[in-house]
Amino acid sequence: MRMAFRFLLNLKEIRDDSKYPPLFLLQHPKIPPIFAGKIYLAHTMAKEYDLIQLKKIASQVRRDIVRMVHACQSGHPGGSLGCTEFFVALYFTQMKHDPKFNMDGKGEDLFFLSNGHISPVWYSVLARAGYFEVSELATFRKLGSRLQGHPATHEHLPGIRIASGSLGQGLSVALGAAQAKKLDKDDRFVYVLMGDGEQQEGQVWEAAMYAAHNKMDNVIATIDYNGQQIDGPVDKILSLLDLKAKWESFGWIVQEFEGNDMQAVIDGLEKAKSLAGKGKPVMNLMKSAMGFGVDFMVGTHKWHGAAPNDEELAKALAQLELTLADY
């Protein structure tokens, strides 16, 4: 029971599971009312949040994202905002994972972020899920932080298993982790998220080919299909044409779902699990909108990697309900 709380509260005092009785936790004044309902261990928490709760977490994560990027005046809000539902759904309804964090992730579902520039959403969700104090989000991209501009293991931030940022490498890493799970007869899943612009990197297709040939059916990959990359719309920069046909021709099972509709994401991820284990890797084409949730950021590559100024921050926060406490 206690672990789930840790996800949401990040109280240093309750890091040690054995020290406090459940009662203390349930009565703790900082537990927000939306979590007064059922609370489950991380390992079994799938679907125990209702939609309203998940949306509230997502709103808070979006607040974290814009505040983090604003605070250091750098970073990538666009893709982060667009992938918020995905991260919240994955960590709060799908994955079996342990915020105490074991690097080897034995018996857990693993997640890899290939498009490492959207680190803000990952950091926020990791913190909100109990991997580290939410207060640490304030250090994002600052000197000496564990929250590097792009995810890194170098500073030992819990939740991160490999560095990313240089695009195109994450799917390969996920395949290696998935191979290890097969070797170890560990039947959990390996999740990986990539960008759509990132599909232009050849290494992605090397990995695609390998996964199909080697029947990596414990891999569930997702593409943030937001149609944007740094220099403009993907279709204008270097079109992916029929991306579904591409992945199918590379031997994957491909499904599409909406990425900024929490229920659609959950359903999509559930569906993905049911498609897995059938001898083929599974690809989710997740249609999202870059910058989703902040009206002046949505749908344009302009906010791929730009930080809001004070005024823009205020405008953004005004659109994002405060649901848990800001860090």
């Binding site: 250091c72 750098s74 970073g75 490492g116 991209r141 600052k142 000197l143 000496g144 932080s145 590097q148 501009g149 792009h150 890194a152 170098h154 500073e155 560095a163 990313s164 940022g165 240089s166 695009l167 195109g168 612009g197 990132e198 232009q200 990197e201 050849g202 990359q229 740094i230 220099d231 920069i237 270097l238």
Partner: protein
Amino acid sequence: MIKYSFTEKKDTRSGFGAGLHELGKTNSNVVALTADLTGSLKMDAFKKDFPERFFQIGIAEANMIGIAAGLSISNKIPFTGTFANFSTGRVYDQIRQSVAYSGKNVKICASHAGLTLGEDGATHQILEDVGMMKMLPGMTVIVPADYAQTKAATIALGEHVGPTYLRFGRPNWPIFTAGRPFIIGKADKMIEGKDVSIFANGHMVWQAIEAEAILAEKGISAEVINIHTIKPLDVEAILASVQKTGCAVTCEEHQINGGLGDSVAQVLSRFNPSPIEMVAVNDSFGESGPPLDLLKKYGLSPSNIVEAAEKAIKRKK
């Protein structure tokens, strides 16, 4: 007193952008390529005015190098632009085979090199690019010091024939070389001195100039030489200076292994063994942070150069 003053700071990458635009006007064979980083590389002006000679490759750096090599076959002069990391380590084998070994006239132009790209952190802060590129036979390697010199170097590349690596960076930086001649392969002596030779390039030239002022106050006469071209190295200038001063300090925004320091150490070891102190990143990855804070944390501040100079002088026999 700092011997050079500046009235403006600008990013060296903007010097590249301005030089490229200039070349676009004067040389119709010049073409430019980018891998989804037009704005970061300041290639917008070239793109706007010469759209038919601008190639958007998408996020596919290996393909970009190959396309550039192919373009050069018909006497086009391709300038590729992406971050330094993706300009070198990502595509080393492609550069090696399709450009360097094939002797193609491709200009590999690389921004956001070194620690000073700042907040993006270590995945992007390449500190090994110069070392990689200088190992390639026939490759010219240039690390200009400021906006003006980056612009001059870019323009010089329009005439220069052969594979080249041009390295520049992201932060605003003092402009202090305006009006000075820029000649590929010719070291630029910024300050005469007699006690110690300070060899620097890129952003570190300014750091060395600041350090010289501090040393001068301490009564130490430092010679500051801008080794903007790492390859071909101006061996004569290095030997002549150390002949006079008897010791050297090297300063670079690069790993201590493989860069300017090792080039100078090789020259001196082979021709005139002398004490060298190296101001460089000491075999570690960088991290996120503001550029100047990073330079400080990783030992690349003027005070580190001062210390190194004092140490080098003490080590003279």
